[in-house]
């Protein structure tokens, strides 16, 4: 199977996507290339197949490729479409894995580079004394990884209804008695909703809730998918179908329609929703790649995953907390306060 490394036409070093300039840079000769330049290079390479044809072999669900740069083996799983050679660090793209249905229609390129992601993480960790050192360690933060995550963007036409009970409460005073009158109403609401581009993560490896929390992405930045965007990042292809994803989307829509219809129940002191439902009448999905920075931490045998939206910088995840540090700080404060309080108390008494 074909393995592509986007190489600098000047020095043959690997090219990586620069999220700041939105161009492809060679870190060795400092050349920079536009998308059109890479397309030309790709056309030439397709016309003249490389001499070193790559082999692939299946090993218990994993695929084995050869790095076009150093010839070392690159082992990936079925869904990985872009990675790095473990030996020479060469970024590689596996284009055959994105043929046909697996070729994304669009991509949101990374807007934040690794340096910005690390800086954001340092800022987050600053003056947070309960974070364990293992996490705030520079060497650990260096491990933050950029990955293109497959998403389905769903357009949905929805009919929804809601039934509720509303209460209007009025109160007045007469003599030494307070009167409270409650008027009860049955509320009926039905409406049509049109949703555009509701994202749902299409990778089994990614935590669905975490990916949902990374939203929003700005889909105005969506670009037509080109293979070179993946160079320098990890990337996964979808392994959750749009039909499976739509179940999760439906739940989100049900919640949203309920909220929206509830908002129309105005001028009531209290509203109790008794039932609500939402039916997706028509739906359409688009396969896209969205940029995410990930940092995995293992602390006290527990896994912590930190994620950052590669476009907006929004951060989600759980960060570890050092319990011994909390005890130490609490102990210092308690002892210092006791000593100072005792001295002060004796002086004042």
């Amino acid at each position: 199977m074909e393995v592509i490394t986007y190489q600098c036409p000047n020095c043959a070093a690997p090219l990586e996507f620069n999220s700041e300039t939105q161009k492809w840079d060679c870190k060795f000769c400092l050349s920079s290339f536009e998308e059109s330049d890479l397309q030309k290079m790709q056309t030439q390479e397709t016309a003249e197949p490389e001499e070193s044809e790559q082999d692939d072999q299946e090993q218990t669900g994993q695929k084995c490729y050869f790095c076009p740069n150093c010839g070392a083996e690159i082992v990936t799983d079925e869904s990985t479409v872009a990675s790095f050679c473990t030996f020479c660090g060469n970024p590689v793209v596996l284009p055959k894995k994105m043929d046909g249905l697996f070729r994304p229609q669009q991509v949101v390129p990374f807007q934040l580079n690794k340096e910005q992601a690390k800086q954001a993480l340092y800022q987050l960790c600053r003056k947070k004394p309960l974070l364990p050192r293992d996490f705030t360690d520079k060497a650990h933060i260096e491990k933050v990884t950029g990955i293109y995550v497959p998403f389905w963007l769903n357009d949905c036409y929805v009919n929804a209804n809601l039934q509720a009970t509303g209460e209007r409460v009025s109160s007045w005073k007469k003599g030494d008695t307070q009167y409270t009158k409650t008027d009860v109403y049955a509320l009926f609401r039905t409406g049509s909703f049109i949703y555009r581009d509701i994202p749902s993560d299409a990778s089994k490896k990614m935590d669905d809730d975490m990916m949902d929390a990374l939203e929003p992405f700005s889909f105005e930045e969506l670009k037509e998918f080109q293979m070179p965007y993946l160079s320098g990042y990890f990337a996964q292809r979808y392994d959750v179908s749009k039909e499976e994803c739509r179940e999760r989307v439906k739940k989100r829509i049900e919640q949203s329609t309920k909220e929206k219809l509830r908002e129309t129940c105005l001028h009531y002191t209290a509203v109790q929703v008794s039932s609500s439902s939402a039916d997706i009448i028509k739906a359409d999905s688009k396969y896209v790649m969205l940029p995410v920075w990930l940092l995995y931490t293992k602390y006290h045998s527990k896994d912590y995953l930190f994620a950052m939206n590669g476009q907006t910088g929004k951060m989600v995840g759980e960060l570890p907390m050092s319990i011994p540090k909390a005890f130490l700080i609490g102990g210092i404060i308690a002892v210092a306060t006791t000593i100072l309080g005792t001295i002060g108390g004796l002086l004042l008494c």
């Binding site: 307070q178 809730d209 929206k260 909390a326 700080i329 404060i333």
Partner: protein, 259 residues
């Protein structure tokens, strides 16, 4: 590291607590006649009870050097109870320059007062007389007049006995409690500001392409019900206190309250 720190801290604390002299300074007791007078015009105490209180109060008066007056009445003749009590005290031949403490009970208005001559105010500040009024009130409300008088005498004795004694144990315990509470608050704040990234899902409403098209918007009246609640007027009393003068111009301090 943590164990070492805690051991060291506890050692310092214990050494510190041990080195502070317990009951360090004791102020001079009030120098006075040291006698008790009980004038039970309202007949709240039986003869035997009165005798018991007198004997008990005599000891306390002797030890503290205070003139102790317990006066009960059915009417203060329109006077504010504290002034009535101060006047009664002066009628007995005492004055505001003598260390004294008085308990007055007016059954007509169901009021009580604890008053002290101005020279004893140092021992019985208003905060203290307020507390004494509150403590005695509980017994008076229950009709336990002898126990009320005994409580008054006990508090008088305790106040004088503990005057000037630095409550080291209490100070250390309060400081320790405050330290623990402060530590818990600080750690709780640190835990609260610990980067917990919001993992809340963004509402799908964000992706609404247009306004909701409403097909049905109906509110149907079902029923009404009315509840009536009687408003309670506030009947609770509160004690008041501070400096005041007797009819003759003597200076006193004390508190009064209702029971």
């Amino acid at each position: 590291m943590l164990k070492r720190f805690l051991t060291l801290s506890l050692t310092i604390l214990l050494l510190f607590a041990c080195n502070v002299p317990v009951g360090a300074v004791r102020a001079d007791l009030p120098l006075g006649l040291g006698e008790i007078r009980i004038i039970d015009n309202a007949d709240l105490l039986s003869e035997q009870e009165e005798k018991q209180i007198e004997e008990y109060g005599e000891q306390i008066a002797q030890e503290t050097g205070l003139i102790v007056l317990i006066q009960t009445t059915n009417s203060t003749n329109g006077k504010e109870i504290r002034r009535y009590l101060a006047d009664a005290y002066e009628d007995l031949g005492y004055n505001d320059s003598m260390p004294s403490i008085m308990l007055g009970i007016d059954m007509g208005n169901r009021e009580l007062a604890v008053v002290t001559s101005i020279v004893s105010e140092e021992y019985f500040p208003v905060k203290k007389t307020n507390a004494m009024v509150d403590d005695v009130t509980d017994y008076l409300s229950d009709g336990e007049y002898q126990r009320a008088a005994k409580k008054f005498l006990d508090e008088t004795y305790e106040t004088i006995r503990n005057y000037g004694v630095k409550p080291v144990k209490e100070i250390v315990l309060i400081s320790l409690g405050a330290g623990v509470v402060l530590a818990l608050i600080v750690v709780a704040v640190m835990v609260a500001v610990h980067p917990k990234l919001s993992n809340n899902q963004v509402s799908a409403s964000r992706y609404l392409a247009s306004k909701v098209q409403m097909h049905e918007h109906r509110d149907q009246y079902l029923r009404s019900h009315t509840a009536a609640v009687k408003i309670n007027s506030n009947t609770g009393g509160s004690s008041s206190g501070g400096r005041f003068s007797s009819s003759s111009g003597g200076h006193y301090s004390g508190s009064s309250g209702k029971f």
